[in-house]
Symmetry: C2
Subunit: 441 residues, 2 copies
């Protein structure tokens, strides 16, 4: 049987992974599909003398690859916005199906791309865009398709998780852990997307759209970075039974209101998610029928991400070779509902939180903090008082640390109490606030 | 668009789950598919006055349902062997696709059923047969289809896991924990399949066939029950950094030799699998490209299992409504290789183990044990000696317990050493042997 012909745009980390797997597992993949997957063309910026490119057409221009008559599927692995979007549009205009790992592009411009693909009868598959090799998009679209999903929560940025894990294990500061991560290749030279939670926000935008059948809406994601987390917070978390993770969350409440956010959160250390260390990823999905489920694996890397790209290629190949148009990878599949979402506001949001106050003398301050919180209706679940060991204070006044775990309270009330407390002279440093998420598995 | 018409054989726990989800999420499911899923007929043994059956044809004979002209998909949820097999065969003969949760039937007679279905161009889908609501069959067939899989390891019997979890948490004996599990509905009146690891063996037979592309071969599974595990072993395990789980394992080594087994095993308590408590399930899959992955969720229950059944129904519906014949749920899909497996023997198998010896006086015995193990080339990694607190010994002689953790050694060598030791008068009770599996995530 005739094979499916793919063109790979970009032979960087992921592209090379795709290349290597397709060459190593050629027979296996052909046996599973019933026909071969053939790389007929690639687009490259730099020469790759380490690869035998003698059997493929090599384009230097990605737009030429997109329009190459000898490819059925355009595999976009160049990343970024402008060139990638133009190439995908050109491929769709030429009637080609698309496989992409480009989370940023999908989250920010995915709506129009999906619409264009749908109009041309083309598929866009993007398993590799979220959580690397973990088949979580497939789980949402197909495995759990009988469920009304209420919640998706995940650790979906390996760099941030690596940094927080390292800080927790060796009491490193954020800055030192970041430098180490950069040296080891876990963090890029410009780590902004990872440490400011933008990358995870892109991914949760995609997961939320699939889970709730709402349009992709990156602007609706509330985002906070991990740069303010200190070793002291990580130690406190352990003592209190929690672990701090960069958590991406998408929830839909009983009224259908959607809440999407990424920020550092304390989760119970007995939760499965708390055991996700280093650069690994995991996504929890709660469905009304299935209950809580969790999907774990490598969230990045050459071959793990390549594994997801090839799964998409094989999925499209299975369908196109049989002229079925209703594949689960259909651009609009699993979001046929696609009702614009109503989003939760700070008025609606209830949250427990870890609060860390730096104070000079705790005697009167403790009562003052309790009173301010209580005045706004924020209940205290636990209160711990410890001297702070901070190098920068060794020659100055000895500060005390007061840690409060609150009961769930409206975000607005907590905010009001904290604003009042920060104005007080008894509070000697910005109050550290880390939300607590107990509803994870 | 015309809907897909299903006939449900059996409205027991799972059948009722399917019924409830299809009625509750009707709109959602129709939106996702583009057409409705209609229950047109059921087969029942007992009346169900609690359900509104006015719109469905009610058969008392499952064979009549299998041949009902008004169904497209036959959903077999009666369980057991004879009637279920006959009904599935009748449905296939009538050209119907089949969805089943029947792990026992598939593991023991699946080969002939899949062949018959293939010859008739019918699909058999069985996501619900393994790990309840967790879409792990789909992950193996599709999500990880670019991978050569080397290992599948899982906690896939909720009853056994519930019993071991309860024993560990409250120091109960096996017998007491089993009775509790029966009272709470986690264990059946006849718990043989669960506690003798037969149910998990059925499931790992299916997973191994999909993972390695080998025929279903229940007889190749090496099985040991959990009835010999004592609270003392569970306590020892915790102290040594392990947890005891009923573990189902399917591995393929570098020579292509396959090893499939289910038995209690000690796994590192830091492993994700060690955090799978109570009636939950999890399956770890290691692929050459993706590395280790883990899939976690409810392994049984009405709606979790119903969720998987409906995912299969929707999968088949998507394909049949578009006359594609190469669905990933194709009877032989993902096992097109289907090369009869070569199985590992005790000669090949290397294993670390926990050994617990009950001895009267440990002074000379300790050296004797070390010597016997060493003579067979079994290395000792750790040795712990503790007095035993056993009620039954309170009036008799005070026995000592010697616990040994071995280095990996050939199973045959370990067996020879243990046989010699059991013949010794110093050893006062059968030696407890629990394999250690460190290669889990």
């Amino acid at each position: 049987m005739k094979g499916v012909r793919i063109g790979i745009a970009g032979l960087g980390t992921v592209g090379t992974g795709v290349w290597n797997i397709l060459h190593r597992n050629t027979d296996l993949i052909q046996a599973r599909l019933g026909f071969p997957v053939e790389i007929t063309a690639v687009a490259l910026r730099r020469p790759r003398p380490d690869l035998d490119l003698s059997k493929v057409k090599v384009h230097s221009d990605v737009m030429q690859l997109a329009c190459d008559e000898n490819i059925d599927i355009f595999v976009e692995l160049i990343g970024g916005y402008k060139d990638a979007a133009a190439a995908i549009r050109a491929a769709i205009a030429a009637g080609k199906h698309v496989v992409t790992a480009n989370k940023a592009l999908l989250a920010e411009q995915g709506e129009s791309l999906l619409k264009e693909a749908d109009e041309k009868g083309c598929l866009i598959a993007f398993e590799a865009a979220v959580a690397g090799g973990i088949p979580v998009i497939k789980a949402l679209r197909e495995g759990l398709c009988a469920n009304s999903v209420s919640s998706v929560a995940g650790i979906i940025n390996g760099t941030a998780n690596y940094i927080l894990s390292a800080m927790s294990e060796s009491q490193q500061s954020f800055e030192v852990a970041l430098l180490d991560a950069q040296k080891l290749g876990y963090a890029e030279a410009d780590p902004t997307f990872d440490i400011q939670s933008i990358d995870a926000a892109h991914k949760i935008t995609i997961l939320a759209a699939l889970a709730f059948g709402i349009p992709l809406n990156f602007n609706a994601v509330k985002t906070q970075g991990i740069t303010h987390i200190t070793p002291l917070d990580l130690v406190n978390a352990e003592h209190l039974g929690y672990r701090i993770k960069q958590l991406a969350l998408a929830r839909r409440d009983a009224n259908g209101k959607v809440d999407i956010r990424v920020h550092p959160a304390m989760i119970p250390k007995t939760a499965m998610l708390a055991s996700v260390h280093g650069a690994m990823n995991a996504v929890m999905i709660i469905g009304d029928a299935v209950g809580p489920t969790l999907f774990y694996g490598a969230g990045a890397g050459s071959e793990p991400t390549g594994s997801a790209v090839i799964a998409d290629i094989m999925e499209i190949a299975r369908h196109t070779h049989h002229e079925s148009s209703n594949a689960a990878v259909h651009p609009l599949a699993f979001s046929v509902e696609r009702i614009p979402a109503q989003y939760l506001t700070a008025d609606d949001r209830q949250q427990s939180a870890y609060l860390r106050f730096t104070v000079a003398d705790s005697t009167g301050v403790l009562a003052f903090i309790a009173q301010q919180l209580s005045q706004q209706g924020v209940g205290i679940e636990r209160l711990v008082q410890t001297p702070i060991e901070m190098e920068e204070n060794s020659n100055g006044p000895q500060f005390m640390s007061i840690v409060v775990i609150t009961h769930p309270a409206p975000e607005k009330a907590l905010h009001a109490a904290l604003t009042a407390l920060e104005l007080s002279s008894a509070v000697k440093a910005p109050i550290q606030v880390i939300p607590i998420e107990a509803r994870v598995c």
